[in-house]
């Protein structure tokens, strides 16, 4: 284990590379690589990495990047890539394809605002737009969380009980381009943690058409199987975390991280780096005796509804911080959480749209949100918390 000062992207690239390399005794690693800010350093890193058995193909588009991953994965290799924002949108058709093919591809989504207008800063709208693509989605709050979650993602995705692709999100620039100290894994550890990939439906000479035409009833079954696989993810993830701890000596967050919620009357929910800033705000308020807690959201697909029910506990007010916007609805986390908490009587659930387009979310802004939430007697439509910096 090496502790190093690196950018989030370098940490992610490094981890992907080790994961790919760990499959060298099986069918190797494959990556379709295409640049887009703020993800580019990941694929640059991967292109430079000397795989024992692996190839990083510098393709002509995100669509083809995922195409290469799909083909490589179907041929049995460990497959991964990274993208952002409009790149993800351009890739979308094949993102869905990867999910429906049931291929355990891992992709880093470096969150960036969708344009136009042109905006390179962080916003989870790009990855959340892919929420229906039959991918796991995991949102990470820090460099360390990112590294650990990438390894978890491979482990869970490739588990025969799951076999679905996974998207690991990190905040553009705030993580991707920020140098921080990270405990990076060793190859030997990753080798132990990630067993060789054995894709049951890989191309192996049989006369099978993967992804051909299908009738409605078989489609129902296909979707039901995907749902069942999603339903198994929390359990598989829990096991993966236990195993992770054994090998790496630390315990990453699971589906979510509930902090100070046991006695909290007010609970705030956020993902990515905003959750870390929020953690400081909550800590200071608790020091002042306020009954406040936070839930750091991590697993978005499958959405762990029961975990939210439990984590919210007896809180009277729940505020959701959404750095994303579904026009005509509101925050996307908020709608998911509202569905999860629909059976909590008397709960005040309020959505705050904050930090959209990469606005710099300071502790002060979060304090204002907490004050607003505490002052409420009833929820309103999502509140636009503008960041004027």
């Amino acid at each position: 284990m090496a502790r190093e000062l690196v950018t989030g992207n370098n940490a992610a690239g490094y981890t992907l590379a080790l994961a790919g390399e760990a499959n060298r005794k099986a069918r190797g690693a494959i990556c379709g690589a295409y640049p887009i800010t703020p993800q580019t350093e990941i694929v640059e890193f991967l292109r430079d990495f000397k795989f024992t058995k692996g190839r990083v193909v510098a393709v002509e588009s995100e669509h083809s990047a995922m195409g290469v991953c799909i083909g490589g994965s179907l041929a049995g290799a460990r497959s991964f890539t990274a993208s952002s924002s409009n790149g993800l949108s351009y890739m979308t058709e094949n993102v869905f394809a990867a999910g429906y093919y049931r291929l355990p591809i891992v992709m880093i989504g470096v969150n960036r605002t969708l344009g136009p207008p042109w905006n390179i800063w962080t916003d989870q709208g790009d990855t959340l737009a892919l929420r229906d693509a039959a991918w796991l989605q995991l949102y990470t709050e820090s460099h360390q969380d990112l590294v650990d979650t990438i390894l978890l993602a491979f482990r869970v995705s490739e588990d025969p009980r799951v076999l679905l692709p996974a998207l690991v999100a990190e905040d553009g620039f705030v993580v991707s381009h920020t140098q921080m100290v990270v405990d990076l894994p060793e190859q030997e550890q990753v080798d132990r943690y990630l067993p060789p990939l054995d894709l049951p439906h890989r191309l192996r000479g049989k006369g099978v058409t993967v992804g051909g035409m299908i009738f409605p009833h078989d489609t129902e079954r296909h979707r039901m199987e995907i749902q069942a696989a999603m339903d198994r993810v929390p359990q598989v993830l829990a096991e993966a975390i236990d195993e992770f701890e054994k090998i790496f000596g630390r315990r990453p967050h699971g589906t979510l991280s509930a902090e100070h919620t046991e006695d909290a009357e007010t609970v705030l929910i956020a993902c990515n780096t905003m959750a870390r800033t929020l953690r400081n705000v909550v800590k200071r308020r608790r020091e002042r005796g306020q009954k406040i807690g936070l839930i750091k959201a991590k697993l978005f697909r499958p959405f762990p509804r029961q975990d939210y029910m439990r984590a919210v506990g007896h809180a009277k007010r729940v505020g959701v911080l959404d750095r994303n916007h579904s026009p005509g609805s509101g925050g996307i986390f908020w709608t998911e959480i509202a569905t999860s908490l629909r059976e909590k009587p008397g709960l005040l659930l309020q959505d705050y749209l904050v930090g959209l387009g990469g606005g710099d979310v300071t502790p002060a802004i979060l304090d204002e949100i907490v004050d607003d939430l505490n002052a409420r007697t009833a929820a309103s439509e999502p509140v636009w918390k503008e960041v004027l910096s």
Binding site: R204, H217, E225
Partner: protein
């Protein structure tokens, strides 16, 4: 706004129609057409198809709903009021599944509804030949006729609508012309019938849910669909008659032996010839080869050199062992020309004891006396005669058979075959008798072969255009004539002689004067003079050739000086052997006899004038005799249709020049009676006979080229060897490519 009619429950006024068809036939459009007709009558309608992979030919379904009130159902129709079937091959239990009692079953079929009453008891059945009407009106293709607009007319009639409804619906959807007239024809011609009996309940087939997962490791090899159900036509195979076979007077399987040669199966090739002709080495030299005249390859480049291939087989293949007589019956054959020899051979092969009578000292008839040895060497003639005689044939030479002796024979033998050939030469009145100057060609040739002719420094005129004329002219050349001149009334194109022989004669210095007829021969002080008349070609005569007509002008006559005139105007039979007034015809038994049957054949009966025709005649005589004696009919069945050039896909075959065989140079051959043609000579790495035989297109007969199979898009053909091809009709879609790609007309498409 429409209010439900009083007394009706919701949906009771609704008519639901199910359409069964095939992709490409226009079932969904038919649904729209029917709906349009009712829409124009102010009703609520709904028309839709079952959308999947709409492949041309694949079964499809479409539906129509008609109601007085707004239609709110959006599901498929499982229990229709009426059913329409667009494709005859789909008519079966499935289409009536769920059909309500009293509903119409409207079928596209050329049959009347009575043809279906047994299949669909208790049903109201209507039929219309929509395919026939559509094809006649040019709608769609033969494989996939578009029948929707046609059948609309029938549907409208059966459901009680009127002709204007048909037109209205077509206008609404945008059809007219052939579509409209087809629909109207169907309206007029649909036939209906109530089938007796009770409707049998049909269990609806429920498609069972599949249990496979995309993650399954072993999904390969699951059964595919039976696309054979899509086909409206199926490929079949038949054999046609190759034009060469059709053209061979001897009845040889020409294509068969040429194809054997192509495969280097020379013994097999000879064996095939010997089935029908015992004289392959002779025919391979002197036959005018009508097979080559008929050869389809002439449309491509040049006819296959069948004559040389036959010769090659006779000269190079191993002759089979002979058989010996096994039967008691004795047969007399009179005349040992090709007809007599052929009859002798075929009778002897079938076990008869044959006695062969010949007027001359040696066997062979005209082949020996009339055909010069530079064309037909004696050893070849002897080889083939000897082969026949070795079948246990008793030979009697120097036998003159007259009418009396013939009648005696009919009491001594079980049957008699008369093939005495042509004994009388046609004369030509040349005015003044010129003894020693004008001679008959046949006599001249016979004397020539005995070395009794010397023409050194003489000028010879030969009159005629047949083989005898050419033979005489070329012999005269060889006998030292100063000049040889053939005079012919027509043009070279009409000359009955073998074309190559004419060419060779000219190469050897024989001159040809076309459109010239001799008028008279006289002598003046300088010697004999032949006066000639210039001719032109007039209207065709009985032979089909244009008749020569004298040119009427002052200078249309001219004189030719010559020392000898050889008449080669043809010969006629000496019929005196038969009772006066007898009809002499090939294969005809001499009437009015008490003794054994007497048959006539060869030139004696047919005057066809070729060895080949005589061989055929002799064989037929043998079969007649056999049938008369035993009642067993060994005549081959009537041959199928001839595969003419229109049946052959010529461009599939690469152009290839004919292998001509080796011919001695003219200056060598004109000084000698040694054989002019050396035949097809194999060189190392260049088997000429095989190369030439491979030019054969095998018209109308499969030669296992595998092209049908190679081009089959479905891979549903299997060649089990020896030309045994099978089609897997479970999967054949009936596209017809195999038939289109068969270059020789063997594979064809049969309507289902």
């Amino acid at each position: 706004m429409c209010t439900p009619r009083a007394g009706l429950k919701l949906g009771e006024s609704m008519i639901e129609i199910a359409i069964h068809g095939r992709g490409g036939q226009g079932g969904v459009t038919l649904a729209k057409l029917i709906a349009s007709a009712y829409f124009l009558r102010g009703q609520y309608v709904q028309a839709f198809g079952v959308y999947a992979a709409e492949r041309s030919g694949a079964p499809i379904q479409a539906f129509v709903r008609i109601d007085d009130e707004e239609i709110t159902n959006h599901n498929q129709i499982l229990e229709p009021d009426h059913v329409i079937v667009l494709d005859r091959t789909l008519i079966g239990p499935r289409v009536v599944s769920g059909l309500k009692p009293g509903g119409w079953l409207i079928l596209n079929s050329p049959e009347g509804p009575d043809a279906y009453v047994a299949q669909f008891p208790g049903r109201r059945v209507a039929t219309v030949d929509a395919t026939g009407i559509a094809v006649a009106n040019g709608l769609g293709t033969r494989a996939v006729p578009i029948v929707n607009t046609t059948i609309l007319g029938a549907v409208m009639k059966v459901l009680g609508l009127a002709l204007p409804d048909v037109k209205g619906a077509m206008d609404e959807v945008g059809f007219g012309g052939a579509n409209l007239s087809s629909g109207q024809q169907a309206f007029e011609s649909v036939r209906t019938q109530q089938a007796p009996g009770k409707i049998e309940p049909t269990a609806r087939v429920r498609v069972s849910g599949r249990v496979a997962s995309i993650l399954d490791r072993d999904l390969g090899g699951l059964p595919t669909i039976h696309t054979g159900d899509w086909a409206s036509r199926q490929p079949k195979r038949h054999q046609l008659t190759p034009p060469c076979n059709d053209g061979c007077p001897a009845g040889n399987d020409v294509r068969g032996f040429v194809q054997a040669a192509a495969k280097k199966e020379f013994d097999e090739g000879l064996r095939l010839i010997l089935q029908t002709s015992p004289l392959p080495g002779i025919c391979g030299r002197v036959c005018p080869a009508p097979c080559m005249e008929a050869c389809n390859r002439r449309e491509h480049d040049e006819a296959v050199n069948v004559r040389e291939i036959e010769r090659y087989l006779a000269d190079h293949a191993r002759w089979p062992d002979v058989t010996k007589p096994k039967r008691a019956e004795q047969i007399a054959v009179i005349g040992s020309g090709p007809a007599g020899l052929s009859a002798t051979y075929h009778l002897a092969r079938r076990g008869y004891r044959v006695t062969l009578f010949e007027v001359g000292a040696e066997l062979g008839g005209v082949m020996r006396t009339g055909i010069p040895s530079y064309r037909l060497p004696r050893d070849v003639l002897d080889r083939e005669i000897s082969f026949i005689v070795r079948h246990g044939v008793e030979v009697k030479t120097n036998q003159t058979i007259d009418r009396r002796r013939l009648l005696e024979m009919s009491h001594q033998f079980a049957a008699v075959f008369v093939a005495t050939g042509l004994q009388e030469s046609r004369a030509l009145r040349l005015g003044q008798d010129a003894p020693g100057i004008a001679v008959q060609g046949i006599d001249f040739l016979d004397r020539a072969r005995h070395g009794q002719e010397n023409l050194i420094a003489q000028r010879v005129a030969v009159i005629g255009g047949g083989n005898t004329a050419i033979d005489a002219a070329r012999s005269a050349r060889r006998l030292g004539a100063r000049s040889v001149h053939i005079l012919y009334r027509r043009t070279r194109a009409e000359m009955p002689a073998i074309k190559e022989e004419i060419d060779e004669a000219l190469e050897e210095g024989v001159e040809l004067s076309e459109l010239v007829a001799p008028l008279r021969l006289h002598e003046d002080a300088l010697g004999p003079v032949l006066t000639c008349q210039r001719m032109r070609l007039g209207e065709p005569d009985a032979s089909g050739r244009r008749a020569p007509v004298p040119i009427e002008s002052e200078d249309s006559q001219f004189e030719v000086r010559c020392d000898k005139v050889i008449l080669a105007l043809g010969q006629t039979p000496d019929l005196s052997i038969y009772p006066e007034g007898s009809e002499v015809r090939d294969g005809l038994k001499l009437a009015g006899l008490t003794g054994a049957p007497i048959f006539a054949g060869g030139d004696f009966a047919t005057n066809e004038g070729t060895v080949t025709a005589a061989i055929g005649s002799g064989r037929r005589a043998a079969l007649h005799i056999h049938r008369t004696l035993t009642g067993e009919d060994l005549f081959p069945p009537a041959p199928p249709e001839v595969a003419g050039p229109d049946r052959i896909t010529m461009h599939v075959f690469a152009h290839a020049p004919r292998e001509r065989g080796v011919i001695l140079p003219p200056d060598v051959r004109r000084g000698s009676f040694t054989e002019v043609r050396l035949g097809l000579l194999d060189e190392p790495g260049r088997p000429a006979a095989t190369i030439e035989a491979n030019r054969c297109l095998s018209c109308g007969v499969c030669n296992e080229c595998d092209r049908c199979l190679s081009y089959c898009p479905e891979g549903i053909m299997v060649h089990r060897g020896s030309g045994n091809y099978e089609f897997d009709y479970d999967y054949c879609k009936g596209c017809g490519i195999c038939a289109s790609q068969c270059p020789r007309g063997v594979v064809y498409m049969a309507e289902l």
